[in-house]
Point group: C2
Chain length 595, copies 2
């Protein structure tokens, strides 16, 4: 049947009694795609029936379906003309793992961060009402997203609409611990009572409420959606679905199977990436450190805002020292700071693309309080990821927060040193980690034991030369080494610097360098604007004549699924290009004489 | 009695039956302070009894009282040794209108932004439990703060605590429209039923719940707090209080009396500030523009996240085009973007110190969606305000958001032009406004009609000279004019530039200037790091030799109630200091010859 369906119009031709069979076909198709390409396994397999029912009942794109995060939107894509394209997911730039208005008229937003759908939908509804138009608006949101403050704010204000506004709460038992308080406990009570529990969260916020126990029965869902279609007030349809449905191993372990690399669909064994012997996993270093720290220091604490799988062993081993805040960075940052205020030592995980989700808390609840929490920022760096998961903006954000010190390790050894440094550092501290691995020991000075320990505000000079100095920040120290190598081959004798501190300039070193260098190169794995290099440029620009500063990094723009080689090329971030760009300045003898 | 009370210890000596009289004395004392010094009138007058009861029942600082925003903490300050100091509020730097851990051991955090108390308190509770300590933790939060996402996230995770955790929800009927949905409707239902309404928001989130109808009866409150003291699980005490209690005019109009300048306490007439004839109020310009726009374009829309009073007339005149999201910037930004996506033209108000509260929404829900909403950023600039209300960080934030254009008007006329420009601009746009007023027409070129209209990415050159060029951004164009004047008196012929665009550099102009200028001065009313001037420095640093760029602005640090003259002096922002700083570069003939 799936062969005949390339649009919601095609779908509507299929009679209700055949819809479940179509769902089964779609699920098989999804399993093929997910096992071959990797992706959000659990969320997509759980949402097949709901998506089919939505498209069967509603009239997209006239009616607007907004998928929260949209990591569960593969079925939606399959039903809206992108069935073939989905086979090339993660290969072609024409298709994304999330909705994108550039991809289809059935996608209204570029989604990817959690908890945003209800607020965005409330705006669509407000505009519709102002324009006197008439259509259905459906926000489809998973229980994991309901714990984010934006979802609450959206529900709260959405409740004021006196018009059609439908929220489908896709409850796949994100939390199954019915003893835990809060919203998840309320959802559990509602499931247990077929929706009849007193003190219903959604009703308390003013919504009409419907509960569908079998959220993987397309017929039940069609009935429910038909009942609320064209309603003229805010309603919540709470549906209970099975995450990972159709893959027994994914059903049994929904946390591990939230997202997966390509896998063997019969065995459920995912591809593993071999780590180059010269590199070490930052996650492993972090885990080792925390395992020791949580065991030695009973006042230490780990806070994880919804990163499935990360630190799962720590959770088992140190349950009272481990706080999963759900996908709620705001709470994670504020709670960490509060705990640090009262004498605990909190380690907090945030991914770079999500740093901005708790920016006020980082500034006001944390930095202003001067509390010694430690934020570990992962996924940082220019990448071929989608719009909403590229982590190249965090330097501009965190390095300009008053009172927050931001570190960037250049190697695995140095990361261990920084973690050690964090234990006794008594002010707000963040450490920037890349997409997974760091060179074991790229810095000969550190390898030799010299400058091993982190000293506040001090950079490490790995090689002392003249005329040209290269600052390679964090994981771009490796790139600085490559630039250094090429320049040496050309007869230059560069000074090579590992800054270590992103936002604490080593002025003593900068002044010293000004004496016999005329070209400064800064390399950072993020946008140039507001970053490390511009601070160096700003400093020299005022202080010293005849010094040219070349800032290398990313442009301030959104990038999306762009092949990595393309990006490097466009930003002139290949070592050969860097050398090419600075060559004219190096070859100007006037500058050399003046230095 | 108040004379005998200088600490919670003194307070506890007063018998329960005399507490209400003490409250009356405190209220009189508060009215004296508020009328003489200005401040948060309504919130403080409403919270007298609750604060007295908290300190009478609990044992601060052993028990921790966390006041949300802490704009209602004057009674707390009076009871904790700061009674005399409070008379000098807004005069001495020794006391702040908000809690501050540097001020007293009874203040645990530097508060000032809304909705943070529960999350911070949950961190204190977690640390307490890890350390095996035993004390009460009370978050005191007003209903206006409960609509913020952080308060929800805090309640949600706080519910998981299996230990003492007390939330006092101070309900002063922030919203009295019982027809509006959402949380306020739930609070209204709870008030109407003496706490017995089904679908209780707090119970739904897993809290034990108590309702106190007369939240201005200190005896009732004492009983309630004694009942929950030393409890071993999360509870909410919902108290119904009268905002502005004791001042009939403040009780009658709580919105206007949320905050007031000094006022005559018998008549209730507040001091008014005379506006210099050469200046115009930006608020008046905005209101005039929106009044026309909302009337002409029925698809236009105003969104206000909880700025009491602002736009109140517009609300009455255009109720369907006016959305008050409560103190919920997150929702305001996302809803505005959603509405713009569906063809509305939203104008959104955010104050500079709160821009960061919706940073992920600004980037992902708005800029990435390319939707033509307009954000008006008020309160921007270096100021003598408290920590949490200084608006000098927004340039670094908003100017580095991909796809967002950030404008800074230098005059009232130019602001009107920018508003006109915003009407047809089809991408995300923000306009930066200062603390109230703009010069009417500082720019002769604009006054003469030349360059009047805003052209995308184009700066305005007001005077063409050589050797030194001065970029005066937004309201600092006036400062640039002063610097220009002094330099002219010294025989220089500066080029004077009004950039208009904070984050779109006018490269053509920059290249032209490079030809015959050796000193560039950038002036901006915010932190230098990540700002406008560093972008100029970064550009020239790489392009041109022998150009020195001097960035003037604020240091990346927190400042608090610092006298304005001090700040200007420390940052070298007086025109004479600026000239002094750049003089050595101007007097270097080598530079001139090389240019």
């Amino acid at each position: 049947m799936l062969e005949t369906v390339d649009s919601p119009k095609d779908l509507k031709k299929i009679p209700l009694e055949n819809l479940q069979s179509l769902c089964d076909e779609i699920r098989d198709y999804l399993i093929d795609i997910l096992s071959a390409r990797g992706g959000h396994v659990g969320p997509n397999l759980g949402a097949v029936e709901a998506t089919v029912a939505l498209h069967w009942v509603f009239d997209s794109p006239h009616d607007k379906l907004i998928f929260d995060v949209s990591h569960q939107s593969y079925t939606h894509k399959i039903l809206t003309g992108r069935k073939q394209l989905m086979r090339d997911l993660h290969i072609t730039r024409e298709i994304n793992g999330y909705t994108d208005f550039s991809e289809s008229e059935h996608d209204h937003f570029r989604m990817g961060h959690t908890s945003t759908s209800i607020s965005l939908a409330s705006g669509l509804a407000k505009a519709r009402d102002l324009k006197g138009e008439n259509f259905n608006i459906v926000a489809f949101i998973g229980d994991g997203s309901l714990s984010g403050g934006e979802a609450f704010e959206g529900l709260n204000i959405g409740a004021n609409l006196k018009s059609n506004f439908i929220v489908v709460a896709n409850d796949n038992e994100f939390s199954i611990d019915t003893n835990s308080g809060g919203l998840y406990s309320n959802l559990a009570h509602l499931r247990q009572t077929n929706g009849d529990w007193t003190n219903n969260y959604f009703k308390a916020l003013g919504y009409e409420y419907f509960y569908i126990e079998n959220g993987n029965s397309v017929v039940d869902l069609v009935k429910a959606f038909e009942a609320v279609k064209d309603c003229s007030r805010p309603v919540v349809v709470h549906i209970h679905t099975q995450k990972g449905k159709g893959l027994p191993y994914a059903e049994a372990d929904p946390t591990s199977w939230h997202y997966s690399a390509p896998f063997n669909k019969s065995t459920g064994v995912a591809e593993s990436h071999k780590t180059d012997q010269a590199y070490e996993s930052t996650a492993a270093i972090t885990n080792d450190f925390l395992d020791k720290e949580l065991s030695l220091n009973k006042k230490s604490l780990v806070l994880i805002p919804g990163a499935p799988g990360l630190g799962a062993d720590l959770k088992k081993k140190y349950p009272s020292q481990y706080v999963d805040t759900g996908i709620a960075e705001v709470q994670a940052v504020a709670m960490a700071s509060g705990a640090a205020k009262a004498g605990a030592k909190p380690y907090l995980f945030v991914n770079s693309p999500f740093v901005q989700r708790a920016y006020d808390q980082t500034i006001i609840d944390w930095a202003l309080q001067e509390t010694p929490a430690v934020m570990l920022v992962s996924w940082a760096g220019i990448s071929d990821n989608d719009y909403t998961h590229v982590g190249m903006y965090d330097i501009a954000m965190l390095s300009n927060v008053p009172g927050l010190t931001y570190l960037a390790p250049a190697s695995a050894d140095e990361y261990r040193q920084m973690l050690e440094f964090s234990r006794s550092f008594d002010k707000p501290l963040a450490i920037r980690l890349g997409l997974g691995n760091l060179p074991k020991t790229p810095d000969p000075k550190i390898a030799s034991g010299e400058n091993e320990k982190i000293e506040y505000g001090k950079s490490v000079v790995t090689k002392r030369g003249s005329k040209v100095a290269i600052f390679g920040l964090g994981d771009y120290f490796e790139k600085a080494q490559s630039v250094d190598k090429i320049l040496r081959e050309k007869g230059f004798n560069p000074t090579l610097i590992n800054p270590r501190f992103i936002n604490v300039l080593d002025f003593e070193l900068l002044d010293e360098i000004a004496k016999n260098h005329s070209v400064i190169v800064t390399l950072e794995n993020g946008i140039i604007d507001g970053g490390f290099g511009q601070k160096i440029a700003g400093y020299y620009s005022r202080k010293s004549k005849n010094i040219k500063v070349f800032n290398f990094g990313a442009k301030t723009e959104f990038i999306n699924n762009e092949p990595f080689a393309n990006i490097m090329d466009r930003y002139h971030l290949n070592p050969e290009q860097i050398v090419e760009d600075i060559k004219p300045a190096l070859e100007n003898p006037a500058l050399e004489n003046e230095s």
